[in-house]
Every structure is written in C-alpha cells, then in structure tokens.
C-alpha cells in the first residue's frame, strides 16, 4: 500500500502551496512525476502557467483545467489561431488573467474571441495592435486590470470603447500609447469611476484631461512620466484633486515646476510617494510645494480626525525620488526640517547634493530605509557618517561613483548598518579593509563592487565567510580578483544567483568549477575573461541547471566543446552572448536544441558559416531576438529571414567593427559608460 495515498487532498494542496516555481522550477515537475495521483492533484492545484512554446497550449489546457492565470508572453508567436484555441477550450472556464505581451500577430479576429470573464489582461508591446482589435477588449466587462504599454497604434477610439465597455477597471496602463490623447483619457476617467491606478507615461496628453482624472474618487496611483504636454499654466486651472492619491510620479515632466506641483497636489493629503526624477529645475522653489502638501494634509486631518491622530499620521509622504534634479543644499535642508518621515529617498544624479544637506535629512528622517546618492560627487565621508549614525535601519544604500568618500566611511557602514541588504559601491575608493568591514553586514543579498580596482581576493574571502545570503555579486572590472576570491565566494554564498565577473582577466576555469556548486546560479556574466575555456563552461553547465543568462563574449578560448554540454544540462538557458568566441557551426547547432533559448547575440564568430547559422536559426524554434552582424544579412536567404520573422523572431543587425584581441584597459571611457548605464537603469 502506498503511504502517500493516505495523505488527503487538502494536505497535498498545502504542500504544493509551498513549492514555488520561482525558487525551484523542477520541484513541481518532480512532484507530479512521483505517481499518478500526485500528477492529477498537481494539475488540479495549479493556477498559473507560463508557456514557452505555443504548440503545447492545447495539451496544457487539457491537463491543467483550473488555470486562472496564463502567461503567453514567452511564446515567440501568439496569433489569432492560438487565441481561438484558448477560447474554444472547454476546460478553461476559470481563466481570469491573461498575459499576451509582445503579441505582434494578433488581429481583430483573435481579440474578438477573448473570454468576457477575464479580469486581468496584459497586451503590452503589442505594437501592431489596431484600434479594431483593441476595441474587442471592451467585451470583457469584468476587466479590472489592463496593460496596454507601447500599443502604439491604439488611439482614442479604442480607448473610448474600452472605457465604456470595461467600467469595472481598477488599473490601466497606457504608457507609450502615442496615439491616445486627452479625449480618450478624459472619457476613461469619466466612465471608469473605480480606477485606482492610472499610468499615462509618455502619452501626449495635456492638462485638459487631468481635471476629470483628478476627480476620480478612488485614484491612488497616478504615473505621469514624461508628459511634456502638461505645464504650470494648465495645472493652474485644475480643481481640487482627489484626496486618495498615494503615488504621484512626475518624472521627466520638464514643464512642471513647483507652482504646477502645488496646484496638482492640492488636497492630496494621503500622498505616500512622490517621484520627480529628471524634472525641471527643482531648486529652493521646491519646498513651497512640499509645504503646501504638508499643510493641506494637516488641514484635512484636523477636519476629519482628532489632533493626536493627525500628528501621528502626519508623515504620509514616505518615498521621495528626485533623480536627476538640480537640488540645492537649502532645499535638502528644507526636506530635513520637514516633519514627515521618509522611508525612501532617491537623489541619484542630483547635482548640488552636499554633506550638509544629507546630514540634515539624515538627522530628521531616522527611519530612512533606502537611500540613493549615486553620482552625488560632492559627498564625503561626513555625510556617510551622519547617515549611518542616524539611519540605523538602512537596508539599501546606493552610492556608486561617490569618489570623495574615503575608506573610513566603509568601516562606518559595516559597523552601524546591520540591516543593510543592498549596497552599491561601484567605482568607489574601496579596498580590502573596507570590504572586510562591509562583510559584517551579514544580511546583504546584493553587493556591487564594480570598478573597485583595489579589492583583491582577501576582501572577497571575508565576503564569502560572512555574507551567506548574498544572491547578487557584481565584480565588473574588479581586475585584481583571482580564482581564490571567487572560490571563497562560491563556497560561502551557496544561494548565489547572479555573478558578474566581466573583464576580471585573471580568473580561470578553476573559478567556474567552484561556482558550479552554486546550484541556483541563474545569470553568469564573464565577458572578456580570456583564460576561461570550455572545461569551465562545461562544469557550469553540469552544475548550474537553472542557468538562464550566459554572457561569454570575448572568451576566446571557449569553443564547440563548451557548447555541447549546454543543451544537455542547461535546458533553462534563455539568453546567450557568444560574440568573439571560437564557436563554429557545430557548436551553434548544438546550442540550437535548447528549446527555451530566446535571445542570441552572435557577432564576430570567425568559424560561423551562413549555412550553419541558417540551420541553427531554423532548428531553434523558440528564438525571439537574434543579434547578428550586418554582413550576414546578405548571406542569409531573404525567405529564411522572412520565415524566421513570421515565427516571431526579431533580427537586430549590428555593424560594429571587429575588435582584435587586446588587453582591455579600465580606461575612463569604460567607467563613464558603465556609470551612465547604471543611471539609465535607475
């Protein structure tokens, strides 16, 4: 008798609840492979599915008939026929949420088949979705959440249909919907009175629609990034805005100054988060707006609740992002004097941030959890001293490229910030001693040590010894690091998920062999490590079965023998960069049998022939994006390219000249590029 059969359904379902696919994709698979009853139970338990290959849809629907969430965003081609299958399937009465990101091939016919009981729909990046197709969404009367990011062809007409049809909408994102105007947004605000979340970033709207938007009774989050049509004059005509607003994002709204802001936030007493990144000049003018905000908050609360509670709830604004603004020292002091309590403050790339300003803020907002002072180049150890002394509960500190911060500051961080989880000290003056102190922050899960040219294995050994929770380690151009340090990290940080060793040219296969013990490794970047060979890669492939992102650009010694183990073990590989390797047709074809592979960059592979490339492209059915050198465009048959494109693959042609094998130097150019990249990501 099977003991497992003694477990009743509820118990098994509870067990299944604990098996998260994100942590271990194979857990559920092995569970369902245990026995038939487990398999049945698992299929009854599963609520969400993420498909890689559209061909399996029918089988998936047959097996998992209680799916409520279906994600087709990884399928290279989602077309009308697929959606029709979805609709015709009698098993799928429970489907509530559907993700169709990047479906470039869906037309009106497919959309017309959508189930009317959908609650969530994500059609982001459907850049070819027409009005008539989008208007079919309005049949889903119960829709609560709709994402239409970058649906560039969708215009007011479709938005009007959606507004009228889906009156239950709670959240909608129209980011980058460049053909939507005031009319559509205005109608949306009038018809969908339940809206909570509204993202209008980069939509060419003006203040005309904002009046009706701000009249929404339940609006909590309003994202207006890059709405250049909104300016102070327009905002001056606004009526009282809704009091329920919690998040307001005005990043990149370059035509709004403090006057417009104060107009807009008039009455928004519950604002929790305010983002003003890359806005117009936020100088000392800014604080009247904040004062306005505080004051209105105060008034509102004295009217509604008693004074004591008012004082407690005074600190409604928790998150303030001023990235890229011109912030003056006096403005920062004003924030410091202000009676709220910030949890999150981002001053990334703000010029004019000084020690005085930071210290004033730190003294006041002791509850600060996240602080971003990347590229605040005037900051010295004094500011870090103040921050670490006052804000003891700091969990995230981003201080990339604060070059004036001296070595002592890192010992302060290590001693005082016991709760630190994320630390970015890229391009700082950090040495082994500093790293030793930092390693005292045992809760760290993300540590970025890029371009810290002074750190050696000694520091990394400390990290390996103490930071056992580390998941992400960035050693970009930390050029003095060798195998010893990497091995120490690999040994100590068993749950490491992502490591960047780009241009650490001293590391060899030994590092990889030790890293292969990190079974959860998902992203491995080691471009420009010329000593690594196929042996190391094979070890990684065998050990790290969850590897999804692999960058071996300019690892010249890696050849076909390194590629062969990848399909054998790393079936989860999604993205690979093979440029400048010694891989030829055979290696590429071997790689092509990885069914999950979606993203390939193949530039300057000397041994690659057009035929081999064509074969690999054809064999790899799941490809979505391939970066190739322009010279291949003429060599590949145009009908092949067309065939690939119809399968859902996008080609990106690059025309970079071949860079001969040379010792890459950590010149200023690289540093600059790296820094700017970081800023853009922020």
């Amino acid at each position: 008798m099977n003991r497992m059969e003694m477990l009743n359904e509820e118990l098994i379902f509870t067990i299944l609840d604990y098996l998260h696919e994100d942590e271990d994709p194979l857990a559920l698979k092995s569970f369902s492979l245990t026995c038939k009853s487990f398999c049945t139970l698992e299929s009854r338990h599963r609520r969400s599915a993420k498909l890689l290959c559209p061909d399996l849809l029918a089988a998936v629907l047959r097996r998992y008939n209680r799916l409520s969430h279906l994600d087709l965003s990884l399928c290279p081609r989602v077309d009308d026929a697929l959606l029709t299958t979805l609709t015709l399937s009698s098993f799928l009465s429970s489907l509530r949420s559907l993700k169709l990101t990047r479906c470039r091939f869906v037309t009106r016919l497919g959309m017309a088949d959508l189930r009317p009981n959908l609650v969530e729909l994500d059609l982001s990046n459907a850049t070819e979705l027409t009005d008539s197709a989008a208007s079919a969404i309005s049949r889903a009367k119960n829709l609560r959440k709709l994402w239409l990011v970058r649906c560039k062809l969708v215009s007011d007409m479709a938005i009007g249909c959606i507004a009228v049809g889906c009156s239950e909408l709670r959240s909608i994102s129209l980011k980058w919907c460049l053909r939507v105007t005031d009319l559509g947004v205005g109608l949306l605000a009038l018809k969908c009175t339940q809206l909570r979340y509204l993202d209008l970033s980069y939509v060419p709207i003006t203040e005309k629609c904002l009046n009706s938007v701000l009249q929404l009774a339940y609006l909590e989050d309003l994202i207006l990034v890059g709405c250049l049509g909104i300016d102070d004059d327009g905002l001056a005509s606004l009526k009282e805005s809704c009091g329920t607003m919690r998040t307001l994002d005005l990043s990149n709204c370059q035509n709004i100054s403090h006057i417009g802001l104060s107009n807009m936030t008039r009455g928004a007493g519950y604002l929790h988060q305010l983002t003003l990144s890359y806005g117009a000049a936020v100088g000392t003018h800014l604080y009247p707006a904040f004062f306005n905000l505080c004051f209105s908050c105060f008034l509102k609360l004295t009217v509604t609740v008693d004074v004591v509670k008012c004082l407690q709830n005074f600190s409604m604004l928790q998150c303030l992002k001023l990235d890229g603004c011109d912030v003056t020292s006096s403005a920062l002091k004003m924030i410091g004097n202000w009676c709220g309590s910030l949890r999150e403050l981002s001053l990334i790339k703000c010029s004019g941030v000084t020690d005085e300003g930071i210290s004033a803020i730190a003294k006041r907002h002791t509850g600060l959890r996240k602080l971003g002072i990347t590229c605040c180049r005037k900051i010295t150890s004094f500011a870090i001293d103040c921050v670490t002394r006052s804000c003891t509960s700091l969990t995230c500190l981003k201080m990339e490229a604060c070059s004036l911060v001296s070595k002592e500051a890192f010992s302060l961080i290590g001693h005082r910030c016991q709760f630190l989880e994320e630390l970015d000290v890229t391009d700082d003056d950090l040495d082994d001693q500093g790293l030793k102190y930092i390693s005292r922050c045992s809760r760290l899960f993300s540590l970025k040590l890029g371009i810290c040219l002074n750190i050696t294995d000694e520091g990394l050994i400390h990290v390996g010894m103490h930071c056992s929770r580390l998941k992400e380690l960035d050693l970009y151009r930390a050029m003095r690091v060798t195998d010893v340090g990497i091995s120490a990290v690999a040994q100590g940080c068993g749950i490491l998920e992502s490591i960047n060793m780009a241009y650490c040219d001293k590391i060899t296969d030994a590092s990889l062999i030790s890293l292969s013990k990190c079974g959860k490794l998902k992203a491995l970047e080691m471009r420009g490590c010329p000593r690594i060979t196929s042996v190391g890669l094979a070890a990684i492939a065998a050990g790290c079965r969850q590897l999804a992102i692999l960058d071996i650009k300019k690892c010249h010694k890696i050849d076909n023998s390194g590629m062969i183990p990848l399909p054998q073990y790393s079936q989860n590989l999604k993205q690979i960069n093979l440029s400048y390797c010694s891989v030829t047709d055979v290696g590429l074809l071997a790689l092509a049998s990885i069914s999950r592979l979606q993203n390939m960059t193949i530039l300057h592979l000397c041994g690659l022939s057009p035929n081999g490339l064509a074969a690999a492209l054809l064999a790899c059915g799941g490809l979505k994006k391939v970066k190739l050198h322009t010279s291949f465009k003429a060599l590949l048959h145009p009908s092949l390219l067309e065939h690939m494109e119809s399968r859902g693959c996008v080609f990106q042609w690059r025309d970079k000249p071949f860079q001969p094998q040379a010792t890459p130097c950590a010149g200023g150019g690289f540093v600059q590029k790296r820094t700017s990249n970081v800023i853009e990501q922020v």
């Binding site: 309005s138 007011d156 479709a158 249909c161 035929n611 064509a614 009908s639 067309e642």
Partner: protein, 487 residues
C-alpha cells in the same frame, strides 16, 4: 439673356397652334404707334414713372457725380440726359409688358383648335418678331447715346423714333415702383448687356468692374469679422439684387459675351481685331488717379430688414462686392446647390459646396448609435453624455479605403454600420480580383509572383523546406533532417 425673355422666345417657338386674332393685332399696332401719347401721359403724371432704383438720394447723387467725373476724366463731354434715358426705359418697360400680355393671350388660345392654324401662326409670329425687333432697336438706340464710339444723337434708327425728352424737372421722384416694374427695368438692363452694349451706363457697375479682381466663386473670409468704422468715414453703395445675382459683370461690346473677370474680357477682345491687341488695350485699366483722396467704399445689402442693409439700426457694412454677393446668396437666396455625397447639405454659394464636398464623408466619427460627427471631440462629448454608446471603429482601420460613401441620413444605425462593412468587403473583393488578375497574367515565369507564392507556402509550413535551398551543402540538409528527427 434674362429669364423672362428667354421664356417668351421659348413660348414663341413652342406655340404652333396660335390663333389669329385681329383685335390683338390691332392692339399691338396701336401700341406701337401710340408711343407719343404714352410718353405725354407719363410726363404728366410723374408718379407713374419707375424712377428710382436707388433709394438713397445722396448715394445717387454721388454715383452720378462719379459717372460724370469719369467722363470728364476721359476727356470727353457727353450730352446725355439721365431723365431722357429714364423715359426711354419706362417706355420700353411698358412695351415689354404689352408684349408679355400678348404672348399670354396666345398661350390661352393655343388650346382652341381652329381650321386655319398655320396662317394664324405665321401672322402672330411676324407680329411678335416685329414687336421684339422694335424693342431691341429702341434699346440699342437708348444705350447708344452712352457709348463713346456712337454718335451722341442716334435717336433715329431704322425709323423708330424716340420722343425728345423735353422735361428736365423730374428731379427726385417719390418711390412708388412696384417690384414687378423694377424687375422689368433690370431685365431690360440685362438685355442691354447681352446686346453688345457696354455697361458704362451704370456707374455702380463700373465700380464693380474695377474692384472685381477676384473670381465670383471665391469665398470672402472677412464677412464674419466686423470692422468698426465711424459712420461718416466711408461711402455706402448698394447694389441691386439683379446685379448681385448676375452671372457676369463684364461684357464684350461686340459680341455680347459675358465674363466674370475683366482680364478675361480683355483676352477675349483680342479676337475682335488688332486694335485690341495693343499693349495699351491689354493693360489693366488704371484705377482712379491716386491724387484724389479715395473715400472708403462699403456696401449695403438691398434686402430691407437685413442687418447688412443700411437702414438697419445696427448696420454693419460689407467690405467688398464679393462680400455682398456671398452674403446675399447665403442669406437671402435659396440654397440650390446640394451636396452630391450626402444629399442633405445645401448651399447657395458654389464655393461653400465645394468646401463642404472636400470634407463630406471623410473622417466621419461614428458612434455605435449611428450618429456621425465631423469632429472627434464632438463624438466623445456625445459618448460622455449617453450611457452605453461607444465609438464605432471602421473594420480594420479602413479609413483610407473608405471612399465617398453615401449613407442616407434616415437609415438606422445597424444599416449604416452594415454599409461600412459592405464597403470594406467590396474593397477587399476588388483586391482579390486584382490578385487573381495578376495570377492569370503571371502564368508565365514571373519572378515576383512566383516569389510571392513561394513565400505564402513557406509561411504555412512548420518547418522550413530544405529542398528550397540549392546553395545549402549536403551536411546542412543532413543536420536539418537530424534536427527534425530529434524533435
């Protein structure tokens, strides 16, 4: 040619069964001969005279002055008396009335069939022809005295005598003209125009000629914009209805052909002889000498009670002749031009129709209830107001392909949307048809078509057919098949 005359001529042609009536003939003869008597009557009773076309005595004086000025400028003194002219015209009017009555009578007798039809018909025809001829001759002689080229006293023409205008004291006559009389006068005037007589007789028309630089059909933009000139700072001119509605304002003195622009007339004149080909003749006629202070000219609408009429309390003058024309047509005339697309919109000015037709049927913003809007914001306002209405999107964004559809307004919403769908369908059918045609044409080795077919078949396949690759090596095809097997 004026309408009434046209009508008469038509009647003459189309009345073959006229009955001879001696009494009628006598009457006509009497009428012809009794000219003198009529004139004396008229002079004795000045109230019977259809004198004043212009109600404003000041204006008239001005116009007269202007006419004289012009004549003086031309360096020639003309001895013509407006009063004489008026007498002649009144006489002509009377005559035309009689003739009209005669023709009416003929029509009345048409139904009675008599034995000697043909004979009677010829007699009547002769009578009327004679009558008309006399009228024409009189007209020419009347107008002839105004022509610079004609002898100032050509009153005796073909034996038809005009009475000498003895009375010069008629002065300003009280306005007692009924509409009909005025109408006839103007008809006569039009007739003059068509009979190779220049319009210099009418000074207002002369102004008209000078200021008519633009086409009739042009639209005036500044009719809506009000200017606020002090009342005395401009002179008010008022054209008559007929002048406003006249299709042409410039007439050839030789053949009578009418033109809208004087430049066109000058071009036409070249065909009449070498003397019109000289640079001087072809040059644009000089305006009034700039040394004089030119008073601003503003225009009044002849429609009594109109705000643009100078008697209106809040009179707003019209800026140009073009404004007058368009205003009069738009406000006081029937809208006879109907849009050929929507068959609903009517216009009285051709240019308005053309403007409308440019936009009619295009960019129709359609609501699900079937209502169409010319502007998107209007549609969205409508949708905001009415519960459950949605914007209707034409199938597959065929805005561009939507031709000039002619949806009838009375149709129901469903019909209308069906119309749109049908249009689209027919379009696609056409496309298919073209494709078929191409296929038929390309049965020979057409590289483009064969490529097309090839690609079509390709996109339908799951795996790429290796046979299509001639340049692939054998190892490659082997790999492909191997890959297939593996999958």
């Amino acid at each position: 040619m004026p309408q009434e005359f046209q009508g008469s001529f038509l009647l003459l042609k189309s009345a073959p069964h006229m009955n001879a009536d001696d009494a009628l003939c006598l009457e006509i003869c009497y009428e012809m001969l009794d000219f003198r008597q009529f004139m004396t009557e008229k002079l004795q009773d000045p109230s019977r005279m259809d004198y004043s076309m212009r109600t404003d005595p000041n204006n008239q004086a001005k116009i007269t002055n202007q006419g004289e000025n012009q004549i003086l400028n031309n360096g020639r003194v003309q001895s013509w008396d407006p009063k004489t002219m008026l007498n002649n015209l009144s006489f002509l009017e009377q005559k035309i009335h009689r003739l009209q009555e005669l023709v009416h009578m003929i029509i009345g007798q048409k139904d009675q069939v008599s034995s000697n039809q043909d004979e009677v018909f010829t007699q009547q025809q002769q009578l009327i022809t004679a009558d008309l001829t006399s009228i024409i001759v009189q007209l020419i002689s009347t107008a002839g005295c105004l022509l610079p080229s004609v002898n100032p006293s050509p009153l005796q023409l073909n034996g038809v005598l005009f009475p000498p205008a003895t009375s010069s004291g008629t002065g300003m006559m009280p306005q007692n003209n009924d509409g009909q009389a005025q109408q006839n006068i103007s008809d006569v005037k039009s007739f003059e125009q068509s009979n190779q007589v220049d319009l210099t007789a009418n000074s207002v028309t002369e102004i008209n000629c000078n200021s008519m630089e633009e086409d009739h059909e042009l639209k005036d933009d500044d009719e809506g914009k009000e200017e606020h000139l002090p009342p005395g700072s401009y002179e008010i001119l008022q054209l008559e209805k007929e002048e406003i509605l006249a299709p042409h304002t410039h007439f050839c003195t030789i053949c009578g052909k009418g033109f809208k622009r004087d430049a066109n007339l000058r071009m036409h004149m070249r065909g009449h002889g070498d003397e019109y080909k000289t640079p001087a003749a072809l040059a644009k006629p000089n305006k009034e000498s700039s040394s004089e202070k030119v008073l601003l000219k503003r225009y009044s609408c002849p429609f009594v009670g109109c705000k643009r009429n100078k008697d209106h309390k809040k009179f707003q003058p019209l800026k140009t002749i073009l404004c007058v024309k368009n205003h009069y047509k738009r406000t006081h005339c029937d809208k006879s031009y109907i849009c050929s697309r929507c068959h609903t919109k009517k216009f009285s000015v051709m240019a308005d129709l053309k403007t409308h037709e440019k936009h009619c049927g295009r960019d129709k913003w359609l609501c699900s209830c079937g209502t169409t809007f010319s502007r998107k914001d209007k549609l969205f306002g409508h949708i905001t107001l009415f519960q459950g209405h949605t914007p209707a999107i034409p199938l597959e964004d065929n805005k561009a392909t939507l031709g000039p559809s002619n949806p009838t307004e009375n149709n129901e919403a469903t019909n209308k949307t069906a119309d749109v769908g049908f249009n689209f369908g027919s379009n696609s059918v056409n496309v298919n048809g073209i494709e078929n045609l191409m296929d038929v044409k390309g049965d020979v080795e057409d590289p483009y078509l064969s490529l097309l077919n090839y690609e079509c078949s390709l996109s339908g396949l799951q795996d790429f057919p290796p046979a299509n690759y001639d340049d692939t090596s054998s190892s490659f095809s082997f790999l492909i098949s191997g890959e297939k097997n593996a999958v």
